[in-house]
Symmetry: D2
Subunit: 451 residues, 4 copies
Amino acid sequence: MVEKKDSSNKESKGTELMKAAEQMEQICIALRRDFHTYPEAAWNEFRTTAKVAQRLRKMGMKVVLGKEVIQPDFAFGRPDEEELKRQQRRAIEQGAEPELVEEMEGYTGAMAVIDTGRKGPAVALRFDMDCVEVQETDHENHSPNRQGFASVNEGWMHACGHDGHTAMGLVLTEILWRHKDALQGRIKILFQPAEEGVRGARAMVERGLLDDVDVVLGIHIYGTEEPYPALAGTQTGLYATTKFDVTIHGRNAHAGGAPQEGHNALLAAVTAISAMNGFLQDGRGAERLNIGLIRGGSGRNVVPADCTFCGETRGSDTAVEQRLFDRMKACVEGACRMFECENRIVSVGAAPAGGGDEDLAARIVAAAQQQVEDMQWTEPIQVNTGTTDDFAYMMKQVQERGGKACYLALLSKLTEGLHGSGYDFDETCLIPGVKSLLAALSCVGIMGDQR
Amino acid sequence: MVEKKDSSNKESKGTELMKAAEQMEQICIALRRDFHTYPEAAWNEFRTTAKVAQRLRKMGMKVVLGKEVIQPDFAFGRPDEEELKRQQRRAIEQGAEPELVEEMEGYTGAMAVIDTGRKGPAVALRFDMDCVEVQETDHENHSPNRQGFASVNEGWMHACGHDGHTAMGLVLTEILWRHKDALQGRIKILFQPAEEGVRGARAMVERGLLDDVDVVLGIHIYGTEEPYPALAGTQTGLYATTKFDVTIHGRNAHAGGAPQEGHNALLAAVTAISAMNGFLQDGRGAERLNIGLIRGGSGRNVVPADCTFCGETRGSDTAVEQRLFDRMKACVEGACRMFECENRIVSVGAAPAGGGDEDLAARIVAAAQQQVEDMQWTEPIQVNTGTTDDFAYMMKQVQERGGKACYLALLSKLTEGLHGSGYDFDETCLIPGVKSLLAALSCVGIMGDQR
Amino acid sequence: MVEKKDSSNKESKGTELMKAAEQMEQICIALRRDFHTYPEAAWNEFRTTAKVAQRLRKMGMKVVLGKEVIQPDFAFGRPDEEELKRQQRRAIEQGAEPELVEEMEGYTGAMAVIDTGRKGPAVALRFDMDCVEVQETDHENHSPNRQGFASVNEGWMHACGHDGHTAMGLVLTEILWRHKDALQGRIKILFQPAEEGVRGARAMVERGLLDDVDVVLGIHIYGTEEPYPALAGTQTGLYATTKFDVTIHGRNAHAGGAPQEGHNALLAAVTAISAMNGFLQDGRGAERLNIGLIRGGSGRNVVPADCTFCGETRGSDTAVEQRLFDRMKACVEGACRMFECENRIVSVGAAPAGGGDEDLAARIVAAAQQQVEDMQWTEPIQVNTGTTDDFAYMMKQVQERGGKACYLALLSKLTEGLHGSGYDFDETCLIPGVKSLLAALSCVGIMGDQR
Amino acid sequence: MVEKKDSSNKESKGTELMKAAEQMEQICIALRRDFHTYPEAAWNEFRTTAKVAQRLRKMGMKVVLGKEVIQPDFAFGRPDEEELKRQQRRAIEQGAEPELVEEMEGYTGAMAVIDTGRKGPAVALRFDMDCVEVQETDHENHSPNRQGFASVNEGWMHACGHDGHTAMGLVLTEILWRHKDALQGRIKILFQPAEEGVRGARAMVERGLLDDVDVVLGIHIYGTEEPYPALAGTQTGLYATTKFDVTIHGRNAHAGGAPQEGHNALLAAVTAISAMNGFLQDGRGAERLNIGLIRGGSGRNVVPADCTFCGETRGSDTAVEQRLFDRMKACVEGACRMFECENRIVSVGAAPAGGGDEDLAARIVAAAQQQVEDMQWTEPIQVNTGTTDDFAYMMKQVQERGGKACYLALLSKLTEGLHGSGYDFDETCLIPGVKSLLAALSCVGIMGDQR
């Protein structure tokens, strides 16, 4: 798809964009800290979406948002309407423009499009925006505490680096927009909600946003022991996953007087959970099953009529994961047959197995090595076993239509592991991250003089 | 139903019959020892049936046997045809008349009828004939060893007293037949197969043998600490029960290479058995569930395609027992839903809950106290919790049609508990047992001059 | 112990006391409605205790309360200190005298003693004071709503009649106090906290309050279909019970990345609960086991480090119940052995099996039939299978020392079953209840002229 | 370790040995068919061992056998003494020399040593001898049936190619022995018992046979779709495994009368098996657990006092497998704690994870490509997931001491999969197999002129 003709002009253009990136470091850090101060959990990113849209529209860009980028039928696991209203009010109190919040129609997420009007590839870049449900540490050594940008939203924290992703996305978009006359093709910049729980990507894919895309790029900050940032060409081996909630409903009875009249939902759950561990072996790949939460019953002396549990299945291969999910369902159904209960199994999030294309990754790393100075390089990484990311949906959508995908891993020194309450990355990785994406764009044919 | 008019003649008649019984003690003991030597497990009583029929027909009595007294559709848990053929040959080798064995058409059991031709009640008496599957002790102190009548059929032993029951039945029938001119009404003497596993009684009931019966009587030898025999008027509180076999069939697979291709019958059984304990509470009565045998799998490294288990449910009330049996089935079905297996649940025996009529029992005990000299008396006994006996089917059939039932307990000093390999009763209890039955018959209107 | 000598004076005295009771009907109903308005759940009865103590001390009686009547080591399942403080403030706001609340030292319950100084038996009477955790109906037909005395304490309601018990206790105590010169022996009136959850009685027994008592009497309102109140002489067949909370603690781990590092507390709980159903059969008596509440886990993708469940065991016999409780504990310990978890099993309430003495009950009913006019009589009732009441502790304590016990059942027309949100009894039963207790006292030797 | 100096002489020597191999094809086939006719399951290889020893000793070789090559403490899962005696008699009836059988002292297996007396490497070659417990098909198309060498030992069959391995071993040993003057170093040829159930290799390793070995070589016949034999350089990715038998012992009780007196071994087994599935996830590698056989109980109405089950754990990594095995044991122990049972867990076979050295494999394939004409070549194969082989013990023992290992895969057209009742390989693969081993020996420094 991409062939070099004459690399001399590209070099100079690349250099120009790289310099623009360097000049925006303080802006990038300030943006990141602002998002860090106001973290928003999945589907609640009203302030973040509004801030992204406001900033880009001010530059004159076309930005669509909310229901225009999200297919509601696939927006799984959203809070109820009342809670969403409450979160919208909170977002406005925390600085979101009311008109923008209203424009979203209850759905978060945004997309900016830069159409050069010139022939060229369609490239999508994805940045995820949501935080995790973790209470940020109050330890005085924690940088957000020392420098005054710790989370003000109790129980929510950017402990997975998405604040940095969004900041990089905004800086990159601004640079591309300012230099759009030197580019060709079309660029879609997706600001995705609800990556946690693997929900937002599918809702954007189902909305059709990736249907006309030739190349999709993503980036995620991970840890390294080295003191300086590094780039790994791509991530492969992402696991497929389904997140599910199971509700079992039986019938109450007095446990002393008439236990035989009860339909014991708690025992049904116990039986189902116990049985489903019987399906964790598959010669085709690795599996994961976790029932992470359970709650049931109404009183010590009442045969429990209700029991709810939440879990997830994972698989190194989509078929392996789907078999496990199907067997999990059969276990719930079988247990309900035993205990005369009814059940409801809701899938609240899912992602396929997948990974980026290694050939594209190699080209990107080569380009970055040439263009980005302040960085180290590592082998393409195989993500840790069991890792899931719904960017796999976007990659699969593009790959199945003949396109290419790459999910860059930006390695930075972390203070604590992902999702830890004392998590923090080294902000000096942000501009190298932006520059890596510029380098990646340079080798997929976006730079004007490449074809 | 039964009223005394003039008891003077009865007394003399009673006395005559009592004396006849006393004179047959040696015959009774010899019969018992013969049956003890050749014990036959449930549905294999070809020799015992033949001996019973031969003896009674020799006296000129009408005896029907085999398929004429058993409804084949309800003859649960019979051995397969090949094994039955083998047992028939064994019976003939051990002295059964070949013509009689042939006449049975593969089914054991017999009924003699004494029809006085005179108006009067129809009374049935039941004697069970089968042994248990226990290897008799070879201890030298064991009376059958000392006196040379220990079992010659390996793995089979009369360790539940049915040899004594059958001997008492033959002696009683002979006495009644010899004195039939002094009696009125009709008497059916049932020699029942397959009480162990609670199977034979129902097959006789379904054949209609109890449909025209006003009073049904049974007797069973139990233990007492006293040195002399005693009579308890009746047994009540017999539990309902179902004996069942469960076969689960799944699909083999190599446990190392392709475990996901297996449908694990062993895990299905494990899950079902574990779950069915969740139904052992009922405010309406007591329950019992036992899975007594399990066997499954074909090789250490093969996902098991087959698993079989055998069990029983019991309940102090028939409805309680039936609910438990139904839930047990649902557990098997639910587990097979989970593990993609098929199942077959076969009921191989069953009995309802029940007991004799206490008013009739009181009358019988009063009559026995008056007529039987060499005996003690106890209160009507409530059988031990959990005891089952398919005589309950016969009692229920008669009681539901307005008749009366009594299940006498003949108490004798035992050397060891029922079903023990060193079990033996004191043979001096046999004639008092026969006399108790004669006393019982005297107060239900069989003796000629009572009405 | 008790022998009538001359009943003539007693009759007149009895009549006098009966009349006094009749004159206090409006007071009794007013007291009951006051308690109904301010219901207090187990161990929170600060207002009720204070009101009881205040009223009786005003008459000049000696009343001990709080820590003086409760042995703290056996006061299971109390709220934490903070909550207790909150409830004490609430009680004061709702009219409890602050000095009395302080005097209690955090423990509820009271005892009044009437010592006649004359030789005679020591009799204890027990009245329970706590409410249940039920939200009272807002239906307009519900009498407390119509007449303005519905609960003002959200989620709490007198739906088990203890408001009536406490009111009867106060009226009875007042009558006895006023007529103490005509009595002999000593009378202890126990106002017990925390009957729900079967906790208060043991704490009073362990405090030694029953150690010098010859006769203990209790009364409980139950339902009848008849329009007028009735008395059943005693309750027997109360089940033994233990209420318990189980906490299992393991180790968190990321369910996708390192599941092997987790010690799964939820699976330990599932395994324990599943296994403990394997102990529900006992030839010696009936059993009940219910796990009524479960809660576990911290996140969908986190191996659960914590799981808590609450349950109860019951048994028709104390030994049967204790075996089941022991096996339940062994199941928790065994499961924790499997899953490398720790556990804590806390018994938060318990009662033995038991019942009143039937001979005393017969005497009481005979006396009541003679002395109480506006009442019906029924046979001694066997309580429903599975019923528990910690009054059994008090009865057992007295019976084991050679004394007698009787637990009267006062039958009244109910609007709904016990613990129902629309439960109400017919207040016309209260004075007949008081009179029944007076009749009971008359036949245990308290009336002055009996000895 | 191994360096080529001058390959010209080696070529000629190699060629000479290769020719010798070709000339022995009919002998090799005859040997294989003899072993096929008399298959012997693990630890019963008395005839096979005797035939091997007899043949080699006749040539003048030193052969040690039985207890001299097996460390008895590690000879897991042997039949009991009585059965071993029976099998020794059977072996003698089938042609084993009695003196040799006696020399074995009850243990099977043999080792021949060729010590050239010249400096050089110590190389071990391993050939496994045992059959599997499968009944050979009686289908007329099955070559052993058509050509009259089907198994005469009922229920036993060479369905895993070990008859071919042993035949190759004998032919190879003979060739080496005849040409020993042209060789250097020492060669140990191990004829291993009990590879099925992964037991024999460890018992030989523990006997010290591999302690002085620099290179260990093995060979196994696998399937290929191609019509002609092929060689894969080595196998890697063998799973670690433990084979275990669990016996649980509780206490009998009458299930109807006194279930509480039973200690239910069957429910303990059910609980343990159910729980152990909770440990099938490990981020470090793949796991397998299979309970392949279960048997328990003594009668339908008896609380089961005994239950036995047989299973295996596997893991792609030894630590992963050991953790699973440890957790399996903890599950059994925890369940026995619950049900008051005792248990015995016996490891009846084990193998570590492992594989050959890829550099040595590459050299061997290169040598074979040069020296063996009638053969194809494939990439080194990664064995199917879940495959285990106790040759891993021998490889590990040598590798840990700094030596090298290679497990050649000889690919032949199969009629049916390994362990199938219609399994057969194409005998034309045997001599190419021998030649491959000669080629392998040529590049580890055994051929005289290499160093």
